[in-house]
């Protein structure tokens, strides 16, 4: 258990907290390129380097495409290599993201999620990370600054254990630029927790020269993809195990999703990321007035815990899924996955509603969440996507 006497409490923004986690994790290489609202991570880290607090080689690349490319080169060479990005940056490097997962490189990219152009908007939304959700990266969402810090530490251990890249995600501005009270672990505790990267194959193993990034034709390509799928399935078990270990050093418990007053709930909201905090306040308030409401906050979005979520939601009569992303001409992404979870876990057809909120940094207030619960209570549920504008 954590040593309660030596709690190291700080007031940090999400961006600074992630940089602080990186300082403690001690990557060998970090590629840095600015984009709002991620920049606070890399500039904080660069200052740490300037002040002699970190040893990592910083590569000041000329684009996000090169940020991930350099990270790939470094990781393939046996280094613990990381980077950070947002929005257009993630889409600019998108070409290289399936290369990372295809090569099985344990790269971690910290993300402050943000809307996509056009029109230009620098504020929080999940449109960027949803656009790259099927590229073989593990995606983990943070609700608050403490999660953003903890997720970073968990992410590097997870990536290196399963041999797949991990994207810890916080909501741009709402988490990345908000100062919160968080507990920082001791440097030595983090160092021991993450350990050293165990390299299987590397470009710097000259005795066993390896070819990374082959050309696979019709006869072999399919099997490569099936192997990646096996790794993603392994990620769930590994995440559970690592979260268990993390609990021992921190006293903070993480799971693939958080259940908040689900047991006896009749109306439940499913959500991801920062707005989960607002929704919890609403649940608390409504519970005080006797309403049986609850919340499920998804933490691990890829791989998606279909069976596990289906099992806990299948008894809930009314469910609203809140997506902070729009999927033009289709149901939004989290909603689609919740439908799949329910379809395969129960023969019951629950009352299910889809809401899109918070695009381009639009505030989602308690009254918006209250409105969703009220819709559920009133039976205002149909197959149309509703927008909390």
């Amino acid at each position: 258990m954590s040593n309660k006497k030596n709690k190291n409490i700080k007031a940090l923004t999400g961006g600074y907290a992630v940089a602080e986690a990186w300082r403690q994790i001690r990557p060998d290489v970090m590629a840095v390129y600015p984009i709002t609202p991620q920049t606070t991570i890399i500039e904080t880290y660069a200052k740490m380097k300037a002040d002699g607090l970190v040893e990592a080689e910083i590569v000041q690349v000329e684009s996000e495409h090169s940020a991930m490319s350099a990270t790939i080169g470094a990781s393939a060479a046996g280094a613990r290599a990381v980077t950070a990005s947002s929005s257009q940056g993630i889409l600019y490097m998108a070409e290289t993201l399936p290369v990372v997962s295809g090569l099985g490189l344990p790269i971690v990219m910290s993300v402050s999620s943000r809307a996509l152009s056009a029109p230009l908007n620098i504020h929080g939304e999940h449109g960027d990370v949803m656009a790259v959700r099927d590229l073989g990266w593990v995606q983990i969402f943070a609700e608050q600054v403490q999660d953003a810090y903890d997720d970073t530490i968990i992410a590097i251990k997870l990536a290196e254990e399963i041999g797949a890249p991990v994207m810890p995600i916080m909501d741009g501005f709402h988490t990345s630029h908000t100062t919160e009270r968080i507990e920082i672990l001791d440097d030595q505790v983090v160092k021991e927790f993450v350990g050293e990267r165990k390299v299987q194959q590397s470009l710097t193993d000259f005795e066993n020269p390896t070819t990374f990034g082959t050309l696979a034709l019709q006869n072999t390509f399919f099997e490569f993809k099936l192997d990646q799928e096996k790794v993603m399935q392994k990620a769930k078990l590994a995440y559970k195990k690592i979260c268990g270990e993390f609990f021992k050093i921190s006293g903070r418990k993480y799971e693939m999703f958080e259940q908040y007053h689900l047991q006896d709930a009749t109306s439940v909201i499913v959500i991801m990321g920062a707005t989960g905090g607002t929704a919890k306040d609403v649940v608390d308030a409504l519970r005080m007035s006797g309403k049986k409401v609850g919340l499920l906050s998804v933490k691990m979005f890829r791989p998606f815990p279909y069976a596990e979520i289906g099992a806990v939601l299948s008894h809930i009569p009314k469910i609203a899924v809140l997506d902070r992303a729009i999927s033009f001409g289709a149901y939004p992404p989290l909603y689609q996955d919740i439908v799949s979870s329910l379809y395969h876990s129960s023969s019951r057809k629950p009352d299910l509603a889809s809401y899109v909120y918070g695009l381009g940094g639009r505030d989602t207030m308690q009254k918006d969440i209250e409105k969703v619960f009220k819709d559920l209570e009133d039976g205002e549920i149909d197959n149309k996507v509703k927008y909390l504008v």
Binding site: D28, S69, A70, S75, A76, G78, T210, T211, G213, T214
Partner: protein, 302 residues
């Protein structure tokens, strides 16, 4: 095959008959006895040497995407520095990036520029076959004026590419790197000497190597050396190097052959010999002369 030649890059690869790329790769890799790591852009070299489960590479090799050979090399450089500092790597390798002209002049130019500007310790080798040959012969920023390509084809209203090639040597030079050279697969001893120099230069270095493509330039597979030689003998492709900003022309051709001697060997220029296109040949000759004069001046001044 000669065991020395296949020490780092094996026989049995799938490049076309009459392709000079393997000779370029072997010459460059053979220019050092130190360990090397290769970063390769998508292209002819990559697809013909890494067909799973085989590989032609007996040295560590990575291919990522089309435009990022230099950025990948930059990451390897950073990793080697970090691993050396932490005692995990004793002898860092020489890092060599290979890309075609598409991967260098065009889609990879930004990544190359960034890596040169940051001063990474690596050699970038562009094998320049003057177009997107792996995808069947489309025009690139390296395709010469008047050439027939799939995306700038000859037709009743077109004589092929209407723009001049990009001067990549000057672009690279503008980064202030210590050593860069223009070479030609038809002159392997010259290429080897330049590769040795480049690999012994701390920081970034660059080689631009002409690679006549039998398939898309359209000439018999036995002719790539002869055509490469004509490119230099006509001053279309002078051999030169820039060392610490100083230009050195390596083979001053006393009596340069007319450009027709080079053009007439290749199907991609066949249309230029029609009456209506003879002006284009004149234009090409004029540009060759002007470019060489510019180079000669630079060589004298510096």
């Amino acid at each position: 095959m000669n065991k020395d030649l296949t020490k780092k890059f094996s026989s049995g690869h799938a490049t076309c008959a009459g392709c000079g790329i393997p000779a370029i790769v072997r010459t460059v890799l053979g220019a050092t006895d130190e360990q090397v790591i290769v970063s390769n852009a998508t292209g002819c070299l990559e697809v013909t040497t890494t067909i799973y489960p085989s590989t032609s590479w007996k040295v560590p090799y990575i291919h990522s995407v089309f435009g990022n050979a230099a950025a990948t090399a930059a990451g390897i450089d950073a990793a080697q520095k970090a691993l050396e500092k932490s005692g995990k790597l004793k002898n860092p390798a020489k890092i060599i990036a290979f890309g075609g002209d598409g991967g260098t002049y065009d889609i990879g130019l930004q990544a190359l520029s960034g890596a040169l500007e940051r001063g990474h310790d690596f050699l970038y080798v562009c094998y320049d076959n003057e177009g997107y040959m792996n995808t069947g012969g489309q025009r690139s920023g390296a395709t010469p004026y008047g050439a027939n390509t799939e995306t700038a084809p000859v037709g009743s209203q077109s004589f092929g590419k209407t723009q001049q090639r990009k001067d990549l040597m000057e672009i690279v030079k503008a980064h202030g790197i210590k050593y860069l050279a223009q070479a030609n697969v038809a002159y392997l001893p010259d290429l080897k000497r330049k590769a040795q120099k480049a690999l012994n230069t701390p920081g970034p270095s660059f080689l631009l190597v002409l690679q006549p493509c039998t398939q898309i330039w359209k000439f018999p597979t036995s002719e790539y050396v002869a055509i490469g030689k004509l490119a230099t003998e006509t001053n279309f492709w002078p051999l030169f190097e820039i060392e610490d900003g100083k230009y050195i022309i390596n083979n001053i051709v006393k009596e340069p052959k007319p450009i027709e001697e080079f053009l007439k060997t290749q199907g991609r220029f066949k249309h230029l010999f029609k009456e209506k296109n003879l002006e284009v040949i004149k234009e090409i000759q004029k540009t060759v002369n002007e470019n060489f004069e510019k180079l000669a001046k630079r060589a004298q001044i510096s």
